[in-house]
């Protein structure tokens, strides 16, 4: 675990990236999707990576989410050096520490809203029945989907699906929730609503939220914004003065 002591406060970072690079091999040539990216993300922060398509947002979130490995650099997530985890360890690590929200919602179509949220508790973790129900109901209330809990994904709207996905991502009490373009398939009004819910969740559960977007209009919702261009961080903005440079 990496501890940084500043002004007598011990901080455990959610993510620490040091000169992280990622190359994709396409035939003979390697495409550099990320080039020596460094940053730290504090717990319970609400962070966004913004940049045009192809700037490396998905690549970066995949690395943080332990779905892929950097080519170079150092990467710690939730206090764990994730560079050396093997396939199974990575899967376990994700199941225990990270919640995922996808652009296309990716709910399991054969499961109801309730069962979708329950899925990680049954199939990934092994949470006993009573505790399971309590957590699911709390989250269903929090995302405002309690009255829809017995519907199947194809019976609800996109915004509702993403709210269910947020509940599913949070139900395992992860340290970090990653959302790659979570609003790209939603209209503006719904997009803002989803971000509001994510922020509300952060406030309630003190979970770190990291999301990416190419949409400049919704970036304003983030408290810390990293701008990506061609695989490099070109700017860091802090809103509301909660974080310092």
């Amino acid at each position: 675990m990496r501890l940084v002591v500043a002004e007598n406060i011990t901080k455990i970072y959610s993510v620490v990236a040091a000169k992280v690079s990622k190359d994709y091999k396409v035939g003979e040539i390697a495409i550099r999707a990320l080039n020596e990216v460094s940053f730290e993300i504090e717990p319970a922060s609400f962070v966004s990576f913004v940049g045009p398509s192809g700037s490396g947002k998905t690549t970066l979130l995949n690395l943080i989410g332990c779905l892929d490995k950097p080519t170079e650099g150092k990467l710690e997530v939730a206090g764990t050096d994730v560079l050396h985890l093997d396939r199974k360890q990575s899967a376990r690590f994700r199941g225990e520490n990270i919640g995922f929200i996808f652009q296309d919602f990716n709910l399991i179509p054969v499961l109801t809203v309730y069962e979708n949220i329950e899925y990680p508790l049954l199939m990934v973790q092994n949470v006993p029945g009573g505790e399971r129900k309590k957590r699911i109901m709390t989250l269903l209330e929090a995302v405002g989907m309690a009255d829809q809990k017995d519907k199947y994904p194809d019976q609800i709207s996109g915004g509702q699906k993403q709210r269910v996905a947020i509940a599913r991502a949070l139900v395992t009490n992860p340290k970090l929730v990653l959302a790659d373009e979570p609003t790209a398939n939603l209209d503006h009004k719904t997009a803002f609503m989803v971000l509001e819910i994510m922020k509300k969740m952060r406030n309630e559960f003190q979970t770190t939220f990291v999301f990416s977007t190419h949409d400049q209009k919704i970036v304003g919702e983030a408290e810390i914004v990293y701008s990506l261009e061609d695989g490099e961080i070109v700017e860091k903005q802090i809103k509301g003065g909660t974080a310092n440079e």
Partner: protein, 413 residues
């Protein structure tokens, strides 16, 4: 585990038509195999029953070496009285035995005073023979159902026809005994026997004491002992037990005295029975192929269609083993569905076959009613085959699903 089944069954319901067609194919396969196995099995058992219950008995004991020269019916290969007494002592102690019947077999001349021909005869105790081969009277076509008396003879049908002998006629049997002297005796024809295939299938029958008289035996000598068991299905285990006991009985020269043969070694029908078993085996192989191909096909499709779902559940931390079991359980459930439907439908169709009284002929026997009987064991074996193959067929696609890279799978459109 119940969650795996819940998800598997929901996924099967998702593609109703495909699931129905695949399960139906398996159902048909199971029905067909059940029907085939039960009909041929019943046919086989009926034929075996005909063989064993009307002529052979379930097994036979001879003096060592007799069967090799049974064509000549050699009198010098008979069991001496002392040896037979010993055998009797052993047989009487076996609780598995229902009855046994000693026979004197010999060849002789059959004369109608007009014509003479060769005949092979069995000297029997009629009551003991009946207990050992209870269907023997059913072969006697015009004897009026009376048991064989001393001084009477049952002759084979073909001989009765060619020699123009009728019931009630007097005939003479002449035989050479083992010392070479010739003797004759008059008999009254009391029955005509339907012939059946196999050794002894064209033999005549007389009383054992008449046989002794014709052969001028001072002491009884026995050519063969036919044995009937209480439970035919225990034949294999009992025969090896009895074989063990008999092989311990040695002659003065230290050689085994007896030889034991089950009906399989005695009847050419055994090969037909084997053929039937072989055909049932190939039919089962075909069922395996049908199940393997159809389940594998469906599961490959299922994995392909759900690549993004697999990516999702893998990304959120579902371990490869869980993903594998999700798909294996799905294939298993599909197979199980086919098996349950197949067994139910199969039983219904078998019941219909039995109710419709289909008749057939075998050899010279006509009007045998086809009764298909399916044993619970057959059903169990066939069901297990289908279920195991369903699992095996799902393994490869399931394994592929479990090895998918989440990011690649998530990118899949």
């Amino acid at each position: 585990m119940s969650n795996l089944f819940k998800i598997a069954i929901r996924n099967l319901k998702r593609y109703k038509r495909r699931t129905f067609l695949t399960a139906f194919l398996i159902t048909l396969g199971v029905v067909f195999v059940l029907l085939f196995v039960s009909v041929t099995g019943s046919f086989k058992n009926m034929m075996i029953g005909q063989m064993t219950d009307s002529m052979l008995g379930h097994l036979q004991v001879h003096r060592k070496g007799y069967l090799a020269s049974i064509e000549n019916l050699p009198l010098n290969m008979n069991l001496r009285l002392q040896a037979y007494k010993k055998l009797e002592g052993i047989l009487n102690q076996q609780p598995e035995i229902e009855a046994y019947s000693p026979r004197i077999k010999f060849g002789g001349m059959f004369s109608t005073f007009v014509e003479t021909t060769n005949i092979r005869l069995n000297g029997i105790y009629p009551d003991r023979e009946l207990k050992t081969v209870p269907l023997l009277p059913s072969r006697v076509t015009n004897g009026g159902g009376k048991p064989l008396e001393k001084g009477e003879i049952w002759i084979p049908e073909l001989m009765a026809k060619s020699m123009k002998v009728n019931i009630g006629d007097t005939v003479v049997i002449i035989a050479t005994n083992k010392d070479g002297s010739v003797n004759g005796k008059q008999f009254k024809v009391a029955g005509v026997l339907e012939s059946i295939t196999g050794p002894g299938g064209r033999d005549g029958y007389i009383h054992i004491e008449d046989a002794m008289e014709v052969l001028r035996m001072e002491e009884m000598e026995i050519s063969e002992v036919a044995v009937r068991l209480k439970d035919f299905s225990r034949l294999r285990s009992f025969s090896s037990k009895l074989e063990g006991i008999l092989s311990g009985e040695l002659s003065k020269q230290g050689k085994p005295m007896f030889e034991l043969h089950t009906w399989e070694k005695l009847s050419p029908f055994y090969n037909i029975a084997r053929m039937i078993d072989l055909m049932a085996f190939f039919i089962k192989l075909m069922l395996i192929a049908v199940v393997l191909i159809s389940i594998m096909n469906v599961m490959i499709m299922a994995v392909y269609e759900r690549i993004r779902e697999i990516g999702t559940i893998a990304a959120i931390g579902t371990l490869p083993g869980k993903i594998l079991s999700l798909f294996v359980v799905e294939g298993f459930s599909l197979g199980l569905l086919g098996v349950i439907a197949g067994n139910i439908l199969g039983l219904i169709i078998i019941a219909i076959v039995n109710l419709s009284n289909i008749t057939f002929s075998f050899g010279r026997q006509t009007g045998l009613v086809l009764s298909a009987k399916v044993s619970p064991m057959d059903m169990l074996v066939i069901s297990l085959i289908v279920i195991v193959i369903s699992v095996v067929a799902s393994l490869q696609p399931a394994f592929k699903a479990s090895r998918m890279e989440p990011i690649k799978a998530l990118r899949h459109v």
